[in-house]
């Protein structure tokens, strides 16, 4: 079997597919320039081309394709949020995810596992009930379950009461899923490239050309280009790029760390999250435990890993799954999360004409990649803000109308 595979691999009649063309020379002008070649930028490019027939687009990525937070997240997809605005928005994304592999003809390995948000305190149980009620009202599959139900859904969990924080119950969300994050970005890149979108890696945007408060071009490390409209989708670098455009954002760049263990046989089906213990964990299709905790305690433009993070994480993880104590950590990394004060994104118009923003995705933006791409594409193409993203505009902070999703953040940040 391995020999056959090798023979197949080296056989010239089956050349490896290039998913998207290599970078070509930059043109002098495009209808739309997208700053940031992460999942969000690529999805927007794809839907602009597919839904709106606009393909004279350049996606500019300063590094390699989708190596930012898109490549660093723990890939949890769910729609059991707290506010009506949030639930509707993330649920549309979940629906798009369900059909994404077909849509892109690219396997994004979307797998519904079920998602348990554990509650260890009365306050956490109250939030779980609150979320379950709002979720059910909007047709999202979500309910409060108790230890005897949890024992059936995840018999591996330590439900004993001889621990610091015994499990009182959980919010159960059967559609909770994971997917292959790189696959999502590459699939959108491939799809966009097939419609003629140009994807330029190793191309950093260093400045913007703004005339009469209207953007007309971008400066890059590979020369200047003219453009009609610009979308910025640069996650942790959002404030820096917005500074080039001359406005401020309600965003702090804070590292979020994660790690995986060595691979073991499948034993953990659902995705387990505990807000009070600051831990979330799932088992990947390769068998690794993929784990994360809360964001770092202060702002930093860095992707370093710390020992404090792992000590905290492991301490709590061992309470939930004492038997994983012998597993070794294989890899660790961090991403620069663009955190907002209300744990909701910032999407839509900016003070600069023809300049659009997609930011504030913090620790929750992977699941929104399809819906954000689709709705931002609609925004750029029509100049009108679709109602599903209206309440996430930058102006909400000036109207004092935040969309508070802290209670639905995966971990108490």
């Amino acid at each position: 079997m391995p020999w056959n595979l090798l023979k197949y691999g080296f056989n010239r009649s089956y050349p490896a597919d290039r998913h998207f063309p290599l970078s070509c020379a930059l043109k002098s002008s495009y209808d739309i320039v997208i700053i940031g070649g992460g999942g969000h930028g690529l999805a927007a490019a794809y839907y602009l081309a597919k839904d709106w027939g606009i393909s004279n687009i350049a996606v500019l990525e300063k590094s390699y394709l989708a190596g930012g937070n898109t490549a660093r997240n723990t890939t949890i997809i769910r729609s059991n949020y707290l506010t009506q605005e949030g639930i509707r928005f993330y649920d549309e994304s979940l629906q798009l995810f369900r059909d994404l592999s077909n849509e892109l003809d690219y396997n994004v390995m979307y797998t519904e596992r079920g998602h348990l948000t554990l509650a260890h305190t009365d306050a956490a149980m109250r939030t779980a009930r609150w979320r379950a009620e709002v979720n059910m009202h909007l047709g999202v599959d979500s309910e409060v379950v108790y230890p005897e139900d949890i024992a059936k859904l995840c018999p591996q969990l330590n439900l004993g009461v001889d621990v610091r924080y015994p499990i009182l119950g959980a919010l159960y969300h059967p559609p909770g899923a994971i997917a292959r994050h790189d696959g999502v970005a590459w699939g959108y890149a491939k799809g966009a490239a097939e419609y003629g979108v140009e994807i330029h890696t190793q191309t950093e945007v260093t400045g913007l050309k703004i005339e009469n408060n209207r953007v007309t071009g971008v400066h890059t490390t590979r020369g200047d280009i003219q453009c009609g409209k610009v979308l910025q989708a640069v996650s942790g670098m959002s404030s820096e790029v917005a500074r080039m455009a001359g406005f401020k954002l309600p965003i702090k760049t804070i590292p979020l760390q994660a790690c995986v263990t060595e691979s073991v046989k499948p034993f953990l089906d659902p995705i387990i999250v505990s807000g009070s213990l600051h831990v979330y964990v799932s088992q990947s299709s390769r068998g690794e435990l993929v784990m994360g905790a809360s964001a770092d305690p202060y702002a930093l433009y860095s992707t370093r890993s710390t020992l404090e993070f792992k000590e905290e994480l492991m301490m709590h993880l061992l309470e939930l799954f004492p038997f994983v104590g012998k597993l070794r950590v294989l890899r660790q990394w961090a991403g620069m999360a663009d955190m907002t004060p209300d744990f909701s994104p910032v999407m839509g118009l900016t003070p600069v004409e023809n300049y659009y923003i997609d930011a504030g995705w913090g620790t929750w933006g992977f699941k929104a990649t399809p819906v954000c791409g689709k709705r931002m594409a609609e925004t750029l193409a029509t100049g009108k803000i679709p109602s599903i993203i209206q309440s996430f505009d930058l102006e909400r902070f000036y109207r004092f109308e935040q969309v508070g999703e802290r209670g639905a953040a995966s971990v108490g940040n």
Partner: protein, 93 residues
Amino acid sequence: MRCPLNGVRNISEFICGGEVIDMPDADNCNDREWADYIFMENNTRGVVREWWLHAPTSYWFIAERDTVSNEIIKTYPASEVYNQRIDYPDTQT
């Protein structure tokens, strides 16, 4: 981190209070200026001046820190910056 009151202590004893910025005159500024002050961030990439709290002793001070290398350049009591009494308008009237 070196706390100006307690000397060098473990970083886990400290809480970051955000960048040192001036508060607008709450009585005379408009809503936009106030929203700018409470929500918008410089999110500086480079050396910043920040408020830090040594939690066990409830002592607030100022630190200069590089947000790229995470190097703490210096720390000093807030009185070095705020060396004059600030009288806030009396809102009880």
